[in-house]
């Protein structure tokens, strides 16, 4: 059968790819996509631990469900912000949106 460590490695790789996406991309929507990958990696880990080690308790599953809700809410608000920023600033690249800077 598939050892648990394989799942952890795949999830870690997915998380690091998402992290690179967030750190290195200019377009804010690409940053959000990187964030989606990181949240998926978290979900893989949660369900892998539930499936291998704690199959009886439901904590892992409920936590994964809450991660789904949080990811959905985060993406919705993030994209809403990007769209209204685009409508005001006319640009979506991350380093243009720095009017908060002193």
């Amino acid at each position: 059968m598939i050892p648990l460590s394989w799942y952890l490695l795949v999830a870690a790789a997915l998380f690091c790819i998402g992290l690179f996406g967030v750190l290195a991309r200019k377009n804010t929507i690409a940053i959000l996509m990187g964030l989606e990958l990181m949240l998926n990696a978290v979900n893989i880990n949660l369900l892998a631990f539930w499936s291998y080690l704690h199959h009886a308790q439901m904590n892992g599953l409920v936590f994964a469900a809450i991660v789904f809700a949080a990811a959905a809410a985060e993406t919705a608000v993030g994209l809403g912000l990007i769209i209204s920023a685009y409508r005001r600033r006319g640009s979506v690249t991350a380093n243009d949106l720095d009017t908060m800077k002193g």
Binding site: L19, S51, R87, V92
Partner: protein, 172 residues
């Protein structure tokens, strides 16, 4: 190399390859389509973990709703010329180093984590959807997070509508 292991390796390579493409491809629309491919790969991983309900939830929410929202956002913020300039910002080398370092650290952590040698999964009948439903509903179980999730969702709904609604008077 049992059939499940071969399938696992195949699916995870597809997922990781499309994840790399999401991060590196220049045109936003292609990045969104590669994101859908990697989310499908993750859904198959959930099936391998005997979490069928979450595989379907993954397809329903991530691919059915969030990816379409991302595609709408990509369409709404269309700048025709912005596709040609390089998409990576100046500090991409630092990002790569940080991500690579994190990967190496995590690999070491998993190497001596005792649980990671477990190879057998629990019996599938234990964690089916009905027990999850009971756990979500009963008060001394997870009822509070259940209600908090709905408050979180309504807050996101109201906030985004307030932000994204075009003011009647226009606000440029």
């Amino acid at each position: 190399m049992s059939a499940a292991q071969v399938l696992f390796i195949l699916v995870s390579t597809v997922t990781l390859f499309s994840a790399v493409m999401v991060v590196s491809v220049r045109r936003m629309m292609h990045a969104a389509l590669w994101l859908i491919v990697s989310l499908l790969g993750v859904a198959v991983l959930f099936v391998l973990l005997q979490a069928g309900f979450f595989a379907m939830v993954q397809v329903l929410i991530y691919i059915g709703a969030i990816s379409i929202l991302i595609i709408f956002a990509v369409m709404l913020t269309r700048q025709v010329m912005s596709e040609k300039i390089p998409q990576l910002n100046r500090g991409w080398v630092a990002g790569l180093v940080a991500a690579g370092g994190l990967m190496i650290i995590l690999a070491f952590v998993f190497r001596d984590f005792p649980g990671s040698l477990a190879t057998t999964m629990g019996d599938p009948s234990a964690g089916d959807v009905v027990t999850l439903g009971k756990a979500l509903a009963d008060p001394n179980g997870f009822a509070i997070p259940f209600e908090l999730a709905s408050i979180l969702l309504v807050a996101a709904l109201i906030g985004t509508i307030y932000i994204a609604m075009e003011r009647k008077g226009g606000e440029q």
